[in-house]
Symmetry: C2
Subunit: 87 residues, 2 copies
């Protein structure tokens, strides 16, 4: 099942560790603090435990949303990509 | 239907405007750049247009996910709230 992970973590070091854990689980970064990817129930539970362990006692909020196909089809995206002229 | 809005917008002024639009639509802030709340199809389309108009030509990514009850029930949250002693 597609799984969306979003997080809000003030500490840079911890936030980077969380993003590494998401990447290690095969998720794809879709926003600065949001990842998505296919995870079955077990892999999702595994990621939950890893993220819990990584956040530990640090301030933060992490949410893991499984997304069914129907919800995904209804998703709407607004994307404006930085033009290369600005770089 | 519960609707999750997540965004990644570099410009502070535009990002704040986007959060105001979400609040105006009755959504609740759950993370610094994430809102959730009940929106029917029409209200969701309305919000989509408002956010599109607000982002306009500015760099950014906004995603609007409708979430069915089943997906919501499977959502997992890890939350560590800043203790008052630290303030």
């Amino acid at each position: 099942m597609q799984t969306l992970v979003i997080y809000d973590i003030p500490n840079d070091r911890i936030r980077n560790k969380i993003s590494e854990r998401c990447k290690d689980s095969g998720l794809l970064r879709i926003q600065y603090s949001a990842f998505i990817g296919e995870l079955n129930h077990n892999r999702r539970e595994e990621l939950l435990l890893k993220l819990k362990h990584t956040l530990s006692e640090n301030t933060g909020n992490i949410r893991i949303y499984p997304l069914c196909d129907k919800d995904l089809r209804l998703m709407k995206e607004i994307a404006v990509v930085e033009s290369e002229d600005d770089e």
